[in-house]
């Protein structure tokens, strides 16, 4: 039988790679490989997944050094001579094996004012937002984020500056800055400005290159830089 040589990170931050042999199958995803190991070789292997169809963002891991969503990544696309290496996401603490601690990642969404703050009440009529309005189009470009953390794990600036909010949180803030129904624009722009916010981005584009949903957080961050600069100019920051 055609076997795949799989090297998997085991243990916490000070763990090590362990090798497994997994039968090669047609249309096999990296998540299939991890699941095979857990169900057939070592039941103590920890990993995270939910939907298996690229919707939930739970199964992101580092595959051959690159952050990817494993459920939609075919082995055939990433294996190197019949071998793959699987590790937890970078730039986040390791809980165990392939499970990284996402707390800081999502706390930063909150720190970037990632919550919608409605201006209207339930007594007001529905807001009408034209589908071709500039704000709607800008929000649409970033709205499909599934929170997988691939961009965050791929970002050089996060690795240099642990306080940096990161591509996903800033992309979320940008979608809200463009939401005409939102009432916290000023606070949000203040929250995303500065050394830990949009101004730290060096436009390396790793986030945009690796986002499995083809979102361009770099463009969102550039938009935030412009919006924050205009706010500062008007004395509204």
């Amino acid at each position: 039988m055609n076997m795949l040589q799989v090297s998997v990170w085991r243990g916490g931050g000070d763990g090590e790679y362990r090798s497994y042999e997994v039968p090669r199958q047609e249309s096999q995803s990296v998540l299939d490989v991890v699941t095979y190991i857990q169900r057939n070789i070592d039941a103590t292997l920890s990993y995270r997944f939910a939907c298996r169809v690229g919707m939930c963002g739970a199964c992101a891991m580092t595959v051959n050094g690159v952050a990817r969503w494993t459920c939609r990544t075919h082995v055939a696309k990433v294996d190197q001579g019949g071998a793959i290496q699987i590790a937890p996401l970078a730039n986040l603490p390791v809980v165990k094996d392939l499970v990284s601690d996402m707390r800081e990642f999502f706390d930063k969404w909150a720190r970037a004012r990632g919550q919608f703050a409605p201006r209207a009440t339930r007594k007001d009529a529905f807001a009408r937002v034209a589908s071709d309005s500039p704000g709607r189009l800008a929000a649409d470009a970033g709205i499909e984020c599934i929170g997988c953390g691939v961009c965050y794990a791929s970002c050089d600036v996060v690795s240099w500056n642990p306080d940096y909010l990161g591509p996903a949180a800033l992309n979320r803030a940008w979608t809200l800055v463009n939401d005409v129904r939102d009432g916290a624009r000023r606070e949000r722009l203040a929250a995303v400005a500065g050394d830990a916010g949009c101004h730290a981005c060096h436009t390396h584009l790793s986030c945009s290159e690796r986002c499995p949903k083809s979102i361009a957080p770099t463009a969102s961050i550039a938009g935030l830089k412009r919006a924050v600069a205009i706010a500062a100019w008007k004395g509204e920051l």
Partner: protein, 132 residues
Amino acid sequence: MNGAGRGYAAVRVAAARPGAKSETWMWIAQRASAALLALCVLVHLATIIYAVRHGLSGEAILARTRGNGVGLAFYALYVLAIAVHAPIGLRSLLQEWLGWRSASLNWFMGAVALALFAFGLRAGWAVFAAPT
């Protein structure tokens, strides 16, 4: 303000980032000085290429710069743009690569800016006020 609940209050406290305003103005200053530098560097390079291609001697160059107010004003602007642009970029590098984030970094960068401005202006003045 809205019905977002307890989590919202926690976030409001965290929203006030120290230095957000000054960082933003530094970013604006660096972008504006970059735009100015793009122009200044072109003029400076054209001047160098002209001087080299025409084989101008040191004395011939000084004859052109001596008492040239436009030249002095141009280089003063050029030096000012450098003194604004370079320290802001260097500050980011030192923050990220050395983890130097204390207030002393800002004092150091201020000193770098002053030194760049002073030495640059001194050079511009030297060719403007060169003795015959």
